[in-house]
């Protein structure tokens, strides 16, 4: 096991369920990006799981199965949005290629790429992240300019659940609890400069997470639940 003792305790408490809401949201975001931590959580879940056998059965409401079956039918692969996902997958490949190109050929290609694809103006220190649930379902792409601390989030295959909004969060151990970067649109690009209050190291290392919130955003200033999409920045600029 390669996680620190503190992380292993956090993994244990995550599995047991005793973390408070913001700690839980942080762990839920981190496990998607940190395989060792995810493994530690799974190990704890496996240690505790036999206890579930001893929980006596309770009959669930009768009408539940048809509702679940309707949902899984609508969620099977032919669901709409696949074309957008495929298109984003290609974009991700292009971004990766752009990142590599940037490091190899002094950014010429990458700057050209950014100019065309993301911001229309060649700016240095540009970072991108794809916010996704898993490798197969990217939802938002975020670009961050580390000099101006300005960011732009673009929906790729995201549709907010009816009556709900997406809210973007900055999550990093250096700043404690998750910080809101505001509600983001699911149908158009959102551009803001509210990363100015954070250190460059925070902006660069943080996990960017999206949660589902009531319209207008979380009423408490903290994520209402586990993130639905997360990602970390990779450099594209010179």
């Amino acid at each position: 096991m390669t996680v620190t003792p503190d992380d292993d305790f956090a993994a244990a408490e995550y599995a047991l369920g005793t973390l408070d809401p913001s700690e839980r949201a942080v762990m839920a975001a981190r496990r998607l990006r940190e395989p060792d931590l995810d493994e530690a959580i799974r190990a704890w879940e496996a240690r505790l799981a036999p206890l579930a056998e001893a929980a006596g059965p309770i009959e669930p409401p009768r009408d539940l199965l048809p509702a679940i079956e309707a949902r899984i039918r609508s969620a099977t692969p032919e669901a709409p949005g696949n074309a957008a996902v495929a298109s984003l997958r290609r974009s991700v490949t292009r971004w990766r290629a752009a990142a590599i190109a940037a490091s190899i050929i002094a950014g010429v290609l990458a700057v050209g790429f950014i100019t065309r694809e993301t911001t229309r103006e060649a700016v240095p220190h540009e970072y991108v992240a794809v916010l996704q649930k898993d490798a197969a379902s990217p939802a938002f792409a975020i670009t961050v300019n580390l000099d101006t601390r300005e960011f732009t989030v673009r929906p790729v295959a995201a549709t907010a659940p009816p009556g709900k909004a997406y809210e973007l969060w900055l999550i990093d151990p250096k700043i404690g609890a998750p910080r809101s970067l505001g509600v983001i649109a699911a149908d158009s690009a959102t551009r803001r400069a509210n990363l100015t209050q954070y250190d460059r190291a925070v902006v660069e290392d943080a996990t960017y997470a999206v949660t589902v919130e009531p319209p207008g955003g979380s009423p408490t200033g903290q994520p209402s639940g586990a993130p639905v999409f997360v990602g970390k920045l990779i450099p594209v600029g010179p």
Partner: protein
């Protein structure tokens, strides 16, 4: 078994003998009839897990629904080498329930359940009649804990109690509960590894 997306088969005689692991394998291949059979075989068990954590019936039903959608999506990831099918499903269901109970809510911290369902009584795993090998080993390790510390772990597991709720219940400060949890969990880990 053929794949029938439109009308999930009801009670085909073969299903009764299908093991849960077989059903999960077929669900991974998008077999809707296998999903229906799995639901019938396991939903009361999983509801027993989520309803103790979410005493309000609507929240528990939502969590159960989310859990089964996830089981449908992730069936291909089930690995029999890492535990029983039921343990795998219960972990998914319990995580759904915990995500819900640990949502930050505006207003009152404790939205106290109006109906504290008697069905959700305390679980005493030490009294369980049927015990898998995994449960026997875990219970042996749990029995090595002090009674109070064991109760803390079990209440957190079965009722989804937060550190704050546990602190109230045991009349101790939250940091003490946290220390207890860490010591107990470390002790369990070492005991299970031995």
């Amino acid at each position: 078994m053929t794949i029938r997306g439109e009308a999930p088969g009801r009670g085909s005689p073969a299903q009764a003998t299908d093991s849960l692991a077989d059903l999960l394998g077929r669900i991974a291949a998008r077999d809707a009839a296998a999903f229906s059979a799995l639901y019938k075989a396991t939903s009361a068990k999983l509801y027993g897990v989520v309803a103790r954590i979410l005493p309000r019936g609507d929240a528990a039903a939502d969590a159960l629904q989310e859990a089964y959608v996830r089981i449908w999506e992730k069936a291909g990831e089930f690995d029999p080498a890492k535990g029983s099918p039921l343990a795998w499903m219960a972990t998914i269901a319990r995580n759904r329930a915990l995500d819900e109970v640990r949502r930050v809510r505006p207003g009152s911290l404790e939205d106290l359940p109006e109906s504290f369902e008697p069905a959700a009584d305390e679980v005493d795993p030490l009294a369980a009649r049927e015990r898998s090998e995994g449960l026997v080993k875990l219970l042996n390790c749990l029995q090595a804990l002090d009674e109070e510390k064991r109760a803390v772990v079990l209440l957190a597991y079965y009722r989804g109690l937060s550190r704050e709720a546990l602190a109230l219940r045991f009349g101790r400060p939250v940091p003490t509960i946290k220390t207890w949890l860490h010591r107990s969990l470390a002790q369990l880990r070492d005991c299970l590894a031995s």
